[in-house]
């Protein structure tokens, strides 16, 4: 395990310890449960975005994809807007919608040869537009007991949604470790040209990775809908940068070929602990964002410090 891998977990432990020392409210079991619950949605988003970052691409489509799937699921399961009551099938369709939008990002990347930065930004706008069309001015509220229950019911002290997130991290890790898709995503970030030289057609894998990521975002949109009992167009607002931050803090490189789902999970916990801790410690709301930014920069620089080399390239 290299230092780059060890840095973020150490940072997580240190930050956790500091908050625990500063605030008695922070170090309660209830609060730890709360932190884990609060990390659930971000963890699922981070799972998806990690595969994209691993390839050296970037994904800004999170707000649009989550918004579209959040509204879609709210309109498909039992709700106050129409007579649909598709239950699990509705959730599946919403996740597939997310996957479809992700697929569009990937297709535009490989067929038009437009950088993912732009294709995903475009798809985000499209997703928000589609969500707004479906929203049509009236808030869809869900009455589906199962979906609402996911956020409310607990197992071993944690909400079902949190267990779903744990399952996603596990599945993500398995994909990354044991599937060709995951290993190729990793390889594409390491040396894309070598794959082509070895006769591997990378384009389908790239599309598949964006599709997979889209499915994770779609699920995240469903989870937000479950938490709020309502489908919001803004369900994914801010999750794009939060997830990228979490992944980077966790040790995934934006240039690709390094990091992974477990790294990002650590990053997610780190970011969530920070958000929670700053509130618990009582930092003024005005300063919270700033302090968080400062700590993220400090954490990353502490993690890369042992790696510094004279002629190292930092982009």
């Amino acid at each position: 395990m290299s230092l780059l891998d060890a840095g973020p977990p150490i940072a997580l432990v240190v930050i956790f310890a500091v908050f625990a020392a500063l605030s008695s409210d922070f170090r309660t079991v209830g609060n730890v449960q709360n932190i884990l619950d609060a990390a659930a949605v971000l963890a699922v988003v981070a799972c998806g975005i990690t595969f994209v970052l691993m390839m050296g691409s970037i994904d800004l489509s999170v707000p649009g994809v989550m918004g579209a799937s959040a509204i879609a699921v709210a309109l498909l399961v039992a709700n106050n807007r129409n007579d649909n009551a598709w239950g699990l099938l509705g959730i599946l369709v919403a996740v597939l919608l997310g996957a479809g939008l992700g697929c569009v990002s990937g297709m535009a990347l490989v067929s038009l040869r437009v950088p993912s930065f732009m294709t995903t930004l475009g798809v985000s706008a499209v997703g928000l537009g589609v969500a707004t069309l479906m929203f049509a001015g009236v808030q869809p509220n869900i009455t589906d007991e199962m979906l609402r229950g996911w956020a409310v019911n607990r197992f071993l002290g944690l909400a079902y949604l949190t267990w779903i997130a744990v399952a996603c991290v596990l599945v993500g890790w398995l994909i990354q470790r044991y599937s060709r898709l995951g290993r190729y995503a990793y390889a594409i970030g390491g040396a894309e040209e070598v794959l082509s030289l070895s006769g591997v057609k990378v384009a389908p894998y790239k599309v598949a990775v964006f599709t997979l990521a889209g499915a994770f975002y779609g699920l995240a949109g469903v989870m937000v809908t479950s938490q709020l009992s309502a489908g919001l167009v803004q369900a994914g607002k801010g999750y794009d940068f939060a997830a990228i931050t979490a992944a980077v803090v966790g040790g995934t490189l934006l240039t690709g070929g390094r990091g992974g789902v477990l790294h990002s999970a650590v990053g997610v916990l780190l970011v969530t602990v920070l958000t929670n801790g700053l509130v618990q410690v009582g930092v003024s709301p005005y300063w919270q964002g700033g302090v968080q930014g400062l700590i993220v920069v400090a954490a990353v620089s502490a993690a890369v410090l042992p790696q510094r080399r004279r002629n190292q390239v930092t982009k």
Binding site: L112, L121, V248, L254, Y286, V313, K315
Partner: protein, 335 residues
Amino acid sequence: MSTPVITEPASNPAAEPAVVTGAPTAAQRVTSFMPVIALVALLAALTIADPDFLTQRSLTAAVRTSAPLVVLAAGATLVVLCGGIDLSIAALCSLSTVFFAMWLPDLGGLTILVAVAAAGAIGAVQGIAHVVLRIPSFVVTLGGMSIFSAVALVISDAGPIRVIDRDATGWLNLYVAGYLPMSFFVALLVVAVISLIIKLTPLESFVRATGYSESAARLAGTPVDAVKVAAFTVSGACAGLAAVMLASRNFSGSPTMADNLLLPAVAAIVVGGTAITGGHGSLWRSLAGALVVTLLRVGLPIVGVPSAWEQILYGAIIVAAVALTLDRSKVLIIK
């Protein structure tokens, strides 16, 4: 100091006459004009959708509107050319509008310079943090973004600060030759001056070499760190100038005023055809890109596209625009 004298090589029979020139081919010329072609195509489409859109007043308003975005994008283009990214420009711009509005009563006309200088200095600090701590620019400026927002909120007491004295920036609302808005003229000037300085000095090769291959540049003795810090400084200063334009347009400074300009500014750079991976691109491209983005932002709703469809169209068109403008021969692997 000794000067090596190299004699002619003994035999060189196979030396072919140089038949090819380094001048760009016709195809390359077309690619370099693609951003302009995209701009014209978009304008034509908007005009077809609503013939009233193509009036002198309307175009004047559009270019005036685009001025702060052009300046922001121009500054950040330098950072992108060096292979980095500056996510803090919008937050820094917001912070600078607060600076400007706060300092104006005391400093008068000098405030413009002071605000630009302050923003430049803040940009430099980020640049130094990036090169000294060796943290990716994405992370440094992401941190900067939240820190600047917090500072702006606190010093402004979370509210807009009115600009009472409009004389200091009144000139920005004038028109050159009756038609060209002064703010856009200033934006053009910024693009032209920075471009010329880069073009006419070794900076061009410094910046590109840094962007294409930082390690090769460093081992060739190129002042990579200085170039990067300079790029962040200029990017910061441009955010400051954009702030002056926004504050003069809104008659106030506010801690969130420009926050939403980040993605449009980066989109402008990419739509112009500058490679997000560094090395290839130019400020002129970003100028055209900023105009495309502005036309999309104001044009679509004005010609009557409904809100939801406006977003869908926006998404589709920026992707199409990049498909058109990016010169793939300069960017081998598209990530």
